[in-house]
Amino acid sequence: MSPTLTDAGAAARDPADGLAALEQRGSTAETFGIPLAVLAELTHRCPLQCPYCSNPVELDRAGSELTTEEWKKVLTELAEIGVLQIHFSGGEPTARKDLVELVRHASEVGLYSNLITSAVLLTKEKLSALADAGLCHVQISFQGNEPVVADRVAGLKNAHDKKIEAARWTRGLDLPLTVNAVMHRQNLHQLSDIIQMAVDLDADRLEVANVQYYGWALKNRAALMPTLEQIEETSRIVEEAAVRLKGILAIDYVVPDYYALRPKKCMGGWGRQFFNISPTGKILPCHAAESITGLEFESVRSNHSIAWIWQNSEAFNRYRGTGWMPEPCRSCEFKEVDFGGCRCQAFALTGDAGNTDPACALSPMHDAIFKQAELESAGASNRFLYRNFAGGTLEAGDDGA
């Protein structure tokens, strides 16, 4: 005998291996089986204004959000169809007054719950109530390792200090902590210090994610795009830290695809192993999918079940698998490795979500985009357009700080 535990991979980011591991053991899940983990964007409201926010530029208003009862029904349905983990995200999920109730409901129906939060609205009592309700894991975003850079990026005073405090409460409650660090030209010089901060906070995991450029981040690309030298330095720092901190801090690293030759396997492939639910209840193949115009996304408020929407809706089937692919994807030996990259990026940069992601060196637009990124990374434009419901607010002061 030799007991083994197959690592089914990161449930949210690349559950392909997870599904494969589970399915080869006699799964009854159908083709495009129900994802292991689902992202629930409870609200788009957020006290932070990060210029790279992954929410759509057209934010959902508070009045249109699913009600507590609607979310509870969704959670029950997700558990019934085989979803195992639920990530409560936003916007800022703690802006919902019913979060404790939703976490408790998730626990009751057997979902493993994860809170992805900016943490600035948390109190010790609130966090304690969430832990009592069965919360399993907390992810706190950090914008830097000290208040000057971090609060500027967040567009909120005292945000950094509150996050540090909330991180300590998290570990004090014996909840596992992941530090989420989104990196870009304005904070990459702090990466080593951010890694040390995560160690000092007794975090279990650190996600170092370079900004992905669509939505708000695309609007802010000139201020955020790192130089190629910065990216190389980043990779070096992460690789060194990952070895040095083995057994102390697990580090996940997301590289920026602008400087890659091959596109990322975005969402593990469109409609293949991931969906998220928007604040108004739309079932989306990724959190940026609504940026693609011309696609109709079904809602949990429709008379269709979530499983039906996942398996049958036009939006999910539009770019699912490889049948939709044009050249150069169609005849590419890597088509089932990266599934053509990111549909949202293809749409944002080429105007057609059905094109090859320009992050791929085989895209006819790749060179032009790479040159543009290089140009912007060396430019003097450092001013943010802050994310908010007003369509964005330009950072005060002169450009070229």
Binding site: P3, T4, P15, G82, N114, D174
Partner: protein, 102 residues
């Protein structure tokens, strides 16, 4: 706080922490171990081991039980069980009750 850097031995009394949940997945008809951003797929014997890890039993007790049940060589089982539990501990998905009063 969760224990870090646990060295699993026959004397350890391991238990899954609250953030590592062993569960039978009814949809896929398999056991899964749910952890932060991870879904692990334990095989049948790993499930048996994990079910026995209750914080009271020692690893030695677990090995004894399995050796009796499978009529297998105790030493080999001990090595395999400790390796699996150590792997889980290194990932932060295993804790142990400290023997304070013994």
């Amino acid at each position: 706080m969760a224990s870090r850097n646990i060295r699993v031995s026959e004397a350890s009394r391991p238990v899954l922490p609250r953030h590592a949940k062993l569960k039978f997945d009814e949809t896929r008809q398999v056991w899964v171990l749910l952890a932060p951003e991870r879904v692990l797929a334990p095989d049948q014997i790993a499930v048996e081991v994990l079910k026995l890890c209750d914080g009271a039993r020692s690893v030695a007790d677990v090995v004894d039980q399995l050796a009796a049940k499978y009529a297998a060589e105790r030493e080999a089982i001990s090595v395999d069980v400790i390796a699996m539990l150590q792997d889980l501990a290194d990932k932060g998905f295993l804790t142990e009750l400290r023997e304070k009063t013994l």
